[in-house]
């Protein structure tokens, strides 16, 4: 489904991603973990097409298409969804209007009929229940004045409405208390199907207790330095990121010897 090869990306003069290789197949959940500044959020944003990052080398293929050649909206229409670490406030645009515009944009791209506001209300009612969201939020401006937890839940509502094939969750767990974390994770799990894949970017292991990954990758210094199964997350939890970094520098020293 998604194949990343030798991906390098800069922000300004700084190189953040220094050669990423990652393959995500249909139905798989990949966790990307790593210390602050390792490049894991950058990876998520580059896949979604954030204009602040410049890709300098490598390729990203999604269903055989050159993803890097696609605009962010084309990526979304093709079934990629990024749940933002810091969801953006848009005062003056209601959630209902925004969600319906997005829903219809994606439907239109898929050659499906656009829905009117009444039909859309039915779609929404069901999706909002997934994350225990109060229907009154539909008439509020997108994320404006929302608490941190509400913003994260709103991202999952959008995820549910747009029904992507590849969901990328960028530190969706940050700023959530344990109850909110469970609600959000339950919502994500209910949306799982064998056809869909996800990349879960997180600093901490605790989200992975709820959203269980098939693979765990550890990012450090803009590279994937270790990959493994879900047990790798537990090892990280126990030993911390220093453990990986020490192992890396030991290996580096060894190769120079």
């Amino acid at each position: 489904m998604l194949e990343i090869k030798g991906l390098r990306a800069n922000i300004g003069e700084n190189e953040i991603l220094k050669g990423i290789d990652l393959t995500v197949n249909k139905g798989e959940i990949h966790a990307v973990m790593g210390p602050n500044g390792s490049g894991k959020s950058t990876l998520a944003q580059v896949i979604a097409g954030h204009p602040a990052y410049e890709v300098t080398a490598g390729s990203v293929t999604y269903d055989g298409q050159d993803l890097l050649d696609m605009e962010p909206e084309e990526r979304a229409q093709a079934g990629i969804f990024l749940a933002f670490q810091y969801p953006v406030e848009i005062p003056g645009v209601t959630n209902a209007y925004f969600l319906r515009s997005a829903y219809n944009a994606v439907r239109k791209a898929r050659g499906e009929e656009e829905v009117d506001p009444l039909e859309f209300l039915d779609v929404m009612e069901e999706k909002m229940k997934l994350v225990d969201m109060d229907p009154s939020m539909l008439n509020r401006s997108v994320n404006a004045g929302f608490s941190g937890g509400e913003k994260k839940r709103n991202e999952i509502v959008q995820l549910a409405v747009l029904n992507p094939r590849l969901a990328i969750l960028d530190e969706t767990d940050s700023g959530l208390d344990i109850d909110a974390l469970r609600i959000v994770a339950d919502g994500v799990n209910k949306l799982r199907t064998p056809e869909k894949s996800a990349i879960v970017v997180t600093h901490y292991q605790r989200l992975l207790n709820y959203i269980v990954p098939d693979f765990v990758h550890v990012l450090a210094g803009g590279r994937i330095v270790k990959s493994g199964g879900k047990e790798l997350a537990l090892e990280l939890e126990e030993h911390g990121y220093d453990w990986i970094q020490n192992e890396q520098s030991a290996a580096g020293a060894g190769s120079r010897a």
């Binding site: 962010p72 909206e73 953006v88 005062p91 645009v93 925004f98 515009s101 997005a102």
Partner: protein, 439 residues
């Protein structure tokens, strides 16, 4: 005066040629105003009130007051109106009432007449010229000297007029360099309530001038919703003054929308002259190309416990230039004044420019006054956020531009006007850029 003497002489000559019948019951007022205009001349940019706006394009042209209205059919109007058949509508063409296009619904306690016929019968119009300042303000003096026609509306005590009164000023001047001088007077007696909408629309692309003045007197506890919609032609020059005087516990809710004209200046001024009186002054301007749009507002808190709220928003593209000057005066006796003002501007081009100048002068010590001004661009992160949800670049920009304007448009309580202005925002934004109003 640095401008050529001929500019003022031109208007003095025009004044001298008014016939006696036309000067009517306001002959002395006109004469006094003309003298004042001759003394003041057109303002220059040295004048603090005109620091960011040059009226040279007006002063260097010789505009001629139109003597009679161009005849129009009702069908030519439809696209400019947002009223419904229940509304009273007075249509003025080139400054003169067009009775065949107007319809007045009788309402007990409400008098609606046109100024020209009131004056022509030699009649006096009480309060005319007593609210707006023709002694020191040049354009008000010019309007007062040459005023043609307009609405004189009086609502008796405790009468509530449910349907809006719509005053439509159409410029259809058959010759270039024409001018009109609309003049309105709105008097709401104690406890009266009404809604008055002024629309300014141009039907031709030629250069013309509109200089209008509206005087408003609000009695104790009266409430007026006043909306001005300025959609003049792209080649027009437009200078308008709305001047209100408010008695105790009265409330003025004002909205000024400006999107037309090559150069426009709108003054919205009120004197909170009674304890407990309040005003809301909102507005929006949306310009592109080489348009220049200027708003100057003045709120004078003259009595205790008075409240003012003000939000102006501007959207500017191309090489346009916006000006906002919001004055708030708090006199020494106006304790417990509560004032809030903000002016926010969205620039869609590197060449658009805004000068914003909040101006608070406070002479009382127990007051709560705040102000703030911003000038910004579309938020790139918000654009990416919307695109990442599948909205294309144009949709995302349009929605963000609309969102910027939405909260101030929300404040318009007359739904057909609110809907029309919202539609105007959407219609003018194409591909995330503002198009010229006349396109």
């Amino acid at each position: 005066m640095t401008q050529p003497e001929t500019a003022v002489d031109h208007y003095v000559g025009m004044f001298e040629s008014l016939d006696h019948a036309e000067a009517g019951g306001a002959g002395e007022l006109r004469r006094r105003a003309m003298d004042r205009f001759a003394g003041l001349g057109f303002p220059t940019m040295k004048n603090e009130d005109w620091h960011y706006t040059s009226v040279a394009p007006i002063a260097t042209r010789s505009f001629n007051r139109t003597g009679s209205p161009t005849s129009l059919s009702a069908g030519e109007l439809d696209q400019y109106l947002f009223d419904s058949p229940d509304w009273t509508r007075l249509v003025f063409v080139d400054g003169w009432l067009a009775p065949e296009l107007s319809s007045v619904h009788d309402h007990p306690g409400v008098q609606i007449s046109d100024l020209s016929s009131m004056l022509r019968e030699g009649g006096k119009v009480p309060q005319l010229g007593t609210i707006a300042d023709h002694e020191t303000v040049a354009f008000t003096a010019l309007n007062t000297a040459l005023m043609q026609d307009g609405a004189v509306i009086t609502v008796a005590g405790n009468v509530e007029v449910a349907q809006p009164i719509h005053l439509v000023f159409l410029s259809a001047h058959p010759v270039p360099q024409a001018a009109s001088f609309p003049r309105n007077l709105v008097v709401l007696e104690k406890g009266a309530r009404a809604t008055v909408i002024e629309s300014y629309v141009g039907l031709r692309d030629e250069s013309y001038l509109t200089v209008s003045v509206t005087e408003i007197a609000l009695g104790e506890g009266a409430r007026l919703e006043h909306i001005k919609v300025q959609n003049e032609s792209a080649g027009a020059f437009h200078v308008a003054t709305i001047q209100a005087r408010q008695e105790r516990d009265s409330d003025l809710h004002s909205f000024s929308y400006a999107s037309g004209a090559e150069l426009s200046r709108t003054n919205v001024n009120t004197l909170l002259d009674g304890s407990g009186s309040s005003c809301t002054m909102n507005g929006m301007y949306m310009v592109s190309g080489s348009q220049h749009v200027d708003h100057q507002t003045s709120i004078e808190h003259a009595q205790p416990n008075t409240t003012s709220r003000e939000i102006y928003k501007g959207i500017l593209d191309g090489h346009s230039h916006g000006v906002f000057n919001g004055k708030v005066y708090v006199r020494p006796e106006a304790q417990k004044t509560d004032g809030k003002q903000s002016n926010n501007n969205l620039l869609l081009s590197d060449h658009a420019r805004v000068d914003t100048k909040p101006q608070l002068e406070i002479f009382a010590d127990d007051v709560k006054c705040t102000h703030g001004a911003t000038v910004g661009r579309l938020d790139e992160v918000a654009l990416f956020y919307m695109k990442s949800r599948g909205l294309d670049a144009e949709q995302a920009r349009t929605l963000l531009i609309y969102a910027f304007a939405a909260d101030v448009l929300e404040e318009i309580t007359v739904k057909p006007v609110k809907d029309a202005l919202e539609a105007a925002v959407f219609a003018r934004v194409r591909g995330g850029k503002l198009e010229m109003a006349s396109d």
